[in-house]
């Protein structure tokens, strides 16, 4: 497995100048890295199981659970310390000639250490094996690879449904109802720069016959389209219910009243900082153009946008028409900007530097899934040199490490937009940029602690550095 390092070390200096995230190359095999990726680079599939509202999705031999967690499955469940990821839906998607499981997995908070750890992975395929950390190292490693491969499919499909498809329709409804001189449209225009390319480009090179899905993954291009459609209509496409805090609370990941808090949550921590700055900017923006809530009601263009969104544009879960206060608009605009953060978490530089890095995150498996445990070699399931280079190059092309003018730092810093804006907005933009620069400086100074961890992870996850993220979902 270590030979894959040779495909990274000292390589990709132009297209991946920062290389893999610190620690990924050496620690990707660790259980803590595997589990904490659900709280950082791949944060949209995890939910906490409710003690009474959720039944246990599958059973595991209690003695095994006790050896791993120090208590049984029911105990973890009843205490709100049991978490679940479910990719079993991928079983129904059309397959290429390569292979994949359709894993579901348990994670848990350890009562003694407080660490967030993996408990079991169920393949849900013909032989439907359940793996745990008590299996042989090779069996358990293969199980984690199968799970990561499913997660990679989910990440790619989910980000299209949650970010691209939502931002575009919200913006298109605004274009049709707001004057170009309306401040809200000018703001949305800036945040959408270049953002209508990914869907047609995706059809041209990702899901087309012989495209990326057909070439690298276990799901055909048609299957990729089905996955995007499925995720969009079953949660990802909704507007208000995917607001940052609302979504994490609905999955029991923050502010949970029936289970302990997560000790470390890198995605939440970083996004909180960015979200607060975005919200502050939007508050200033909205209040500068609407000195009182009552004025919102009389802005017929704005109200037409809301009405258009809920009717003709068919935006899922868009606010009801009419909106009556500024707070609603502030939250709507903040969420629009936050969707770019969602995009950058799942796309941009993150796949190539961690969530699709090799050998632990292959796009597909290259041998039939084992019918029983006891594998003696994992290499048959992993991509060969040619395919490995192809996968790395593919994700390198999603990386945008060098275009500083289009970094998230400058999301509101545009000559045209600021030129049309008032002085209050220009000051707010400077404040936002200062805050993002400060956040970036802190991130660039991150190092491992004495235990070789950073925020509870054996790697340093910095995908949301505002100087590394793109300012729009243009990839």
């Amino acid at each position: 497995m270590g030979d894959f390092k040779q495909l990274y070390e000292g390589q990709w200096r132009r297209s991946i100048p920062d290389g893999l995230n610190a620690g990924v190359s050496t620690n990707a095999s660790l259980d803590l890295q595997f589990s904490m990726e659900r709280l950082s680079a791949s944060p949209f599939s995890l939910r906490r199981l409710h003690p009474t509202d959720d039944e246990l999705p599958f059973e595991i031999e209690q003695s095994i659970v006790s050896q791993i967690a120090g208590e049984d499955l029911d105990s973890l469940h009843s205490k709100g310390q049991l978490f679940f990821v479910d990719h079993s839906v991928q079983l129904a998607l059309p397959k290429t000639t390569r292979y994949s499981a359709a894993c579901s997995a348990y994670f848990f908070i350890h009562s003694d250490s407080g660490s967030f750890l993996p408990l079991a992975i169920k393949t849900n395929t013909e032989f439907d094996l359940i793996y745990t950390p008590r299996d042989s190292q090779l069996d358990w490693t293969l199980a984690k690879i199968m799970m990561n491969s499913n997660e990679a499919i989910f990440n790619e499909a989910y980000h299209v449904a949650a970010a691209h498809a939502v931002q575009e329709i919200v913006h298109l409804a605004a274009v049709r109802t707001l004057s170009a001189a309306h401040p809200v449209l000018a703001l949305l225009d800036r945040m959408m720069v270049g953002s209508y390319a990914p869907r047609p480009m995706g059809e041209a090179v990702l899901t087309n016959p012989g495209g990326v899905f057909d070439t690298y993954t276990s799901i055909t291009g048609t299957g990729g389209l089905q996955a995007i459609t499925l995720y969009y209509h079953y949660g990802a496409g909704a507007y208000q219910s995917n607001y940052f805090i609302t979504n994490l609370e609905s999955r029991g990941l923050i502010n949970c009243t029936w289970g302990p808090p997560l000790q470390h949550y890198p995605f939440f921590e970083d996004t909180s900082s960015i979200y607060l700055s975005l919200h502050n900017f939007m508050k200033t923006f909205v209040e500068s153009y609407y000195p009182a809530d009552s004025i919102i009601v009389f802005d017929h263009e704005l109200q037409d946008w809301i009405k258009e969104g809920t009717k003709a544009a068919k935006i899922i879960d868009f606010p009801d028409s009419p909106i009556k206060n500024r707070q609603t608009l502030i939250d709507m605009l903040t969420h629009f900007a936050y969707l770019t953060v969602v995009h950058n978490t799942l796309n941009g530089g993150d796949p190539v530097s961690v969530s699709s890095s090799l050998p632990y995150h292959p796009a597909s498996l290259h041998a039939p899934l084992p019918s029983e445990k006891g594998v003696t070699d994992i290499m048959p399931w992993l991509p060969n040199v040619s395919t490995s280079i192809g996968e790395i190059a593919l994700f390198a092309k999603f990386n945008r490490p060098v275009f500083e003018s289009s970094s998230f730092l400058n999301i509101f810093n545009d000559v045209k937009f600021l030129g049309m804006s008032n002085n209050v907005i220009r000051q707010a933009e400077q404040t936002f940029r200062d805050e993002m620069n400060a956040l970036s400086s802190r991130m660039k100074g991150w190092v491992f602690d004495a235990d070789g961890l950073h925020r509870g992870m054996p790697s340093i996850w910095n995908a949301l550095d505002p100087t590394k993220m793109a300012l729009s979902s243009a990839i």
């Binding site: 030979d3 040779q6 390589q11 990709w12 132009r14 297209s15 299209v160 449904a161 691209h164 498809a165 939502v166 575009e168 329709i169 298109l172 274009v175 049709r176 004057s179 170009a180 001189a181 309306h182 401040p183 270049g194 209508y196 390319a197 990914p198 869907r199 047609p200 480009m201 059809e203 990702l206 389209l225 089905q226 995007i228 459609t229 969009y232 209509h233 004025i295 009389f298 802005d299 017929h300 263009e301 544009a313 068919k314 290499m379 048959p380 060969n384 040199v385 040619s386 395919t387 280079i389 192809g390 190059a393 390198a396 092309k397 060098v402 275009f403 289009s406 049309m420 243009a474 990839i475």
Partner: protein
């Protein structure tokens, strides 16, 4: 007789360019209401909800101005893509200098592939 707004698409580039650089203002404070109404009415006819792309999700822009919106994005995408693709191509060329060593001396050799068979590397 066609309503006045039916002819707006013909003049849409002129109408839309005229309002593009004015100070931002909400309609409550707009003096020339007619100009703004015509602009929005024009956009209603030139930015159309087209069929979804890349999955059956949300509508995708269509109509003459909607297609231009997409075209503008594609142009900027291609500009950035050309740069990053060239960098990746050069990186792959560098990687080729060690691929033979990797494939011959490591566990990769069990999979029976050498650099001469590496279609990605050939394609560059």
């Amino acid at each position: 007789m066609k309503p006045l707004f039916a002819f707006l698409p013909i003049f849409s580039p002129l109408i839309l360019a005229n309002v593009a650089q004015k100070p931002l203002v909400i309609p409550v404070y707009v003096e020339n209401v007619t100009e703004r109404l015509i602009e929005v009415a024009t956009k209603q006819q030139t930015y159309i909800y087209g069929a979804p792309r890349l999955g059956n999700t949300s509508f995708f822009p269509s109509g003459p101005m909607g297609q231009q919106l997409v075209l503008d994005s594609l142009v900027s995408f291609e500009e950035e893509n050309a740069i990053i693709s060239e960098r990746a191509r050069e990186d792959i060329a560098d990687l080729m200098t060690i691929v033979d060593i990797v494939s011959m001396t490591s566990m990769f050799s069990q999979q029976g592939l050498t650099a001469s068979e590496c279609h990605v590397c050939k394609r560059g």
